[in-house]
Symmetry: C2
Subunit: 341 residues, 2 copies
DNA sequence: CCGCCCTACGAGAGCGCTCCCAGACCTCAG
DNA sequence: CTGAGGTCTGGGAGCGCTCTCGTAGGGCGG
């Protein structure tokens, strides 16, 4: 097909020869050097340096059956949301933690049904040790795809019910965070607290709605307005809420982007934040929450940390000869008080 | 270390046995089946299906020295710009084209100097067949990194001068596109055409500035204002321009994001677009250009196509036993007329 | 009908590595 | 001084695949 990537790289054999030891010993040194006496270790290390030896990954994988790569599955609708800083942060966390574990990130972008087959084959083909996936939508094909590939996996975000797979997930305490946000508005003395909800096909959005209702058990249904996690939808929802209930004095927006949109509408209508209407967001993505005017009071979730956690969970899954899956993790949220509430 | 990913998958040997042929013949069938008679092909295919055979990638790589993976290098500043739809689109194009070539996308995120070593080792270690990188900043370490790893690579965007590496790149005709934009404003009869420029450390921004000057050879320097490709900077630049030269009647913003910011400022100042000020952007990212009010006249570059082109160039590089590097590609731009100019 | 050539298939080596196992060596107690 | 027990090291098999090469077999011209 083509030339080797680099003109014949040195093999372990060559290193061993140069160091005057056997291939087995050289291998031991390369893999940590335990059980090898110091002088030999040094000799091998030196040979490695001199020759610029880099282990052949394929050969190693062939025998160890591990390839040090993890697939990150992103389905089309999510990818479009890549512009959402949320994703960037989560992938960043994943990437960083994978580096720690000496693993590579293989981006698998599932775009259509044809891709679904391809990716399932790929996952099943042992190209990657495990998979990380974001399960955001009810109609998502990812859980099915993963179970088909029979590969260790971890989800980011609680998958919708209905999947009987025991795939662990990492999520933040959406419901608890929402409760905290709403309680905070209550504590400020707000009486007509509205909710700008996220899309109903995402568990995170549903959980935040539940949290709202936990606190405001018999909230006026007209105070709940639907958004889709975009700033634009937040602006629209806010307008609608103000039309329906002009006496709104508190708003919990299910994410910061929608909160920023709501803020815009409030400003356009000449309402002061937080004086007239107190506003709380969710996520605490710095690029949004800190730059609004006024800065957003919001529920922080440790997005990058969740990404890292996903990797750690997967690693535990991989190093786990017994079959017991580690439990899912719910990370805590914290209310970050800024100016908007 | 751990269990095999899946309990002992079938090998080619097993397929061959079941089909009653030799391993060699089975291999031939799996790899396209040329030189094998139809009945045998069928038998092998059937065995593959029945056993659910999937080739072992590592074993194949070990002997072919190709691993069907391409590294996509993203340096930290770019990654932060992932929220820029530009990147999403380009990666999308790359991903799609890689699928066509049966290659995987390994995301390599270069974050610091420590990472630089790690990634260089990784690239040099033959884990990937080639690399794609985005060279946006003058101070970028990526070109050096790639030349160190001595691996076939293609850049997205013309790298800044000063690198004597013969790494081909794919870029759009930034200068020509800018010329077209400015000429269009001229054709509309605009006399005081301002430029909102992009950051000076990016070749694309510089080229667009050059294009502006190509048409407006002795433009008033006060009509040039610096931005950084964000909407916010566009808004600020527009404000500054209006303060400096209230008679501005045409603006070429070096990207759509800045154009959208400029639009906001113009609206706030009560100026009508395009009646008072005609505005042209660059990029034609739909999520921005089509949703502004009025919709943006802009210079379209085929971002996804450029991503695909990068992959094709790399593939040519890989299948190229002679050492002649394919030439870089400059893709054309087209002016898309909407409402803003 | 015989021999030639071409095509289809199988045998086998080997890619670079890990890891099992046997043997060498050393230490120390008896 | 000897042998048991431990620690290190090397030999060698084998991971699953591709690919070269040799051979068998069939078609066709002479």
């Amino acid at each position: 097909m083509s030339e080797p990537t680099v003109g014949s790289r040195p093999t372990l054999e060559a290193v061993a020869a140069r160091a005057g030891v056997s291939r087995a010993t050289a291998s031991r040194v390369v893999n940590g050097g335990i059980g090898v006496r110091a002088p030999l270790v040094d000799k091998v290390r030196q040979a490695v340096d001199e020759l610029g030896y880099v282990p052949n990954h394929a050969a190693r994988t062939l025998v160890t059956r591990r390839n040090g790569a993890v697939g990150v599955l992103i389905a089309e609708p999510e990818f479009r949301i890549f512009s959402d800083p949320f994703f960037e942060r989560q992938v960043r966390g994943i990437s960083r933690e994978l580096t720690v574990h000496d693993c590579q990130l293989v981006l698998l972008w599932v775009e259509g049904s044809a891709d679904r087959d391809r990716v399932a084959r790929y996952l099943g083909g042992g190209h990657v040790d495990g998979a990380l996936a974001f399960s955001l939508h009810n109609d998502d094909e990812l859980p099915a795809l993963i179970s088909r590939a029979r590969i260790p996996a971890v989800f980011g975000g609680r998958p919708p019910a209905g999947h009987d797979l025991d795939i662990p997930y990492v999520d933040c305490d959406n419901r608890g965070g929402a409760r905290e946000a709403v309680r905070h508005l209550c504590a400020l003395g707000r009486k007509n607290i509205a909710l700008i909800a996220g899309p109903r096909d995402q568990t995170s959005a549903l959980d935040r709605i539940d949290g709202y209702h936990d606190v405001l058990v018999d909230a006026d249904p007209a105070l709940l307005c639907q958004g889709d996690f975009t700033a634009e939808s937040g602006a629209r929802a806010m307008a609608e809420l103000l039309d329906r209930r002009p006496n709104v004095d508190g708003v919990f927006a299910s994410n910061d982007l929608m909160a920023s949109g709501a803020l815009r509408t409030l400003r356009e209508r000449g309402l002061r934040v937080p004086d007239d209407v107190a506003l709380v967001g969710f996520d605490d993505v710095g690029s949004v929450a800190e730059t609004t005017e006024p800065a957003l009071t919001t529920v922080r979730q440790d997005i990058e940390g969740m990404g890292r956690l996903m990797v750690r969970l997967l690693m535990r899954l991989l190093n786990n000869t017994a079959g017991d899956a580690p439990a899912s993790v719910i990370t805590p949220t914290t209310l970050v008080r800024r100016a908007s509430a």
